[in-house]
Symmetry: C2
Subunit: 297 residues, 2 copies
């Protein structure tokens, strides 16, 4: 059987034809549509029809950046894709496609992907963190994707770590996301005197030995480590899997993150919880969405 997994981001839409085992047999990428729901739906149905022309499709899974209510199935907030707000996206697509469709928060979909087909295979307790424009997180607890009372769980990016810290896009102050994200890294680099406007540029400076860039990565890694220690002390996990665009520079982050975990987390809990890189990389979300469609989760 085959499934279509779609990962709607603020910049791009990634879609894949995924088989039962989670292997991507074919993939597409296109610019995202953020403010016109008709054009967005048309893009999505066109992708699925394209895959249908080469394989029989059993179901479709869609990962979306935002909070999806498990009670109403509506997308309650989606700052980066405003046109899907208050929409039952899965019902709308199912009607047009005449196929079963599920939708899920994109970080939750990524967690599910790593769990069934990536770095979390066989575990009962894991977190998946994705560091990019923001800091996303999905949780697998007691052997199931953990969504919480209404589908909003997993927002480690908006746990507080500095009560009087940097303003966060969510309206609070001092959330982890203000430190552990591409904009957070860039802000830290600027505070340290390096005037770059992309995470890639900070990375380039760091690998060429720039002291401020290296310090910015060490500081970002330190906050990533505090976030991991918090997850370990609260949830007693078996692994934390880290992905997202900024993890291209994983080597620069993981050293200080791991040192910080050793400093902060309970030793018996930290000992059993390795912090590892994503195996599915940028495909985690679309593979997870396809696997959620497979399992009708």
């Amino acid at each position: 059987m085959n499934y279509v997994g779609i990962d709607i981001g603020g910049t791009n839409i990634k879609a894949g034809l995924v088989d039962d085992s989670g292997a991507v047999r074919d993939a597409r990428r296109m610019p995202s549509v953020v403010d016109d729901i008709d054009i967005l739906l048309k893009s999505l149905t066109t992708i699925v029809a394209d895959f249908q022309s080469r394989a029989s499709i059993e179901a479709v899974g869609v990962g979306i950046p935002g909070l999806r209510s498990t009670r109403t199935h509506l997308i309650e907030t989606s700052p980066n894709i405003p046109c899907i707000r208050n929409l039952n996206l899965e019902a709308e697509l199912a009607k047009q496609l005449k196929l079963p469709v599920i939708s899920e928060n994109d970080a939750n979909a990524g967690a599910y992907g790593e769990w069934v087909a990536g770095a979390g295979r066989g575990l009962q307790y894991m977190a998946y963190l994705t560091i990019g424009t923001g800091l996303g997180c999905g949780l697998v607890l007691s052997g199931a994707l953990y969504r919480g009372a209404s589908g909003y769980a997993g927002e480690i990016g908006h746990l507080n770590v500095e009560p009087d810290g940097r303003p966060c896009a969510c309206g609070s102050i001092g959330c982890f996301e203000t430190r552990v994200s591409a904009p957070g890294l860039i802000a830290t680099a600027r505070e340290l005197g390096l005037n770059e406007s992309s995470a890639d540029a900070v990375y380039d400076a760091a690998i060429h030995g720039d002291t401020a860039a290296l310090a910015a990565f060490a500081d970002t890694g330190r906050f990533l480590g505090i976030a991991c220690a918090n997850l370990i002390n609260l949830l007693n996990l078996e692994s934390i899997v880290i992905g997202g665009g900024v993890m291209a520079s994983a080597d620069l982050l993981l050293h200080s993150a791991t040192a910080e975990v050793r400093r902060r987390a309970f030793e018996p809990a930290a000992r059993i919880c390795p912090i590892v890189q994503s195996q599915l990389r940028s495909d985690a979300g679309l593979i997870g969405a396809a696997m959620l469609a497979r399992d009708r989760q």
Copy 2:
């Protein structure tokens, strides 16, 4: 049927004869035993024998302050009761009592008590916080007590909120417990110029209008609110139930805690998660331990 629930604290041991519904039919309190395992075991078996002389006992549950491994059933750490470290307390007691015995972290037992017989009845997702010498926490997630991979879950007291804050007894720096606990409240009051050595004395000063004492409670409540907002954003709960000795002064804490939650948590998640006081008060741990024995959880 009747059960014995025992809550071993650093200062006192509380024990109760508890019926099927979680009602306490008889209770005992005695000074704790921290450094002699034989005397501690003798005290516990004497309590149970005493209750057995007036009712038939089906099983015994014991709440302990420390980390109990669900893998080995050993108590891995217990700073306040060093004599139970590396002990399989439940097996030892079962052998002597010839009754089924379960043991559990005391805050987990309290959470279970509030869930089956207190403020959390009927919920699927809740946290129980207990503010006293430390800041304990137990979680009920997806309709079951959440223990994590090896039984250590729920340590909200040791989530980080100030990376360069106060030293914590756990070895880290800036844990919530350094702010939200009796010692944390006293330390905050001292920083504000009030020289008291107990939480009760700070409370007395506050209700008599002392500005520093009131500010110390407001600050403690603020950090309690940040802890609650973190739990809401990560776990999407239906209620947070707060107990423990310091909650005698709940009115002074909950106002600023609730204001802080409104400031920090996602609105759709915070809206469905009231923050309420414990119903079982100081009996939460022993009732929960008895109910865990009833359910052989």
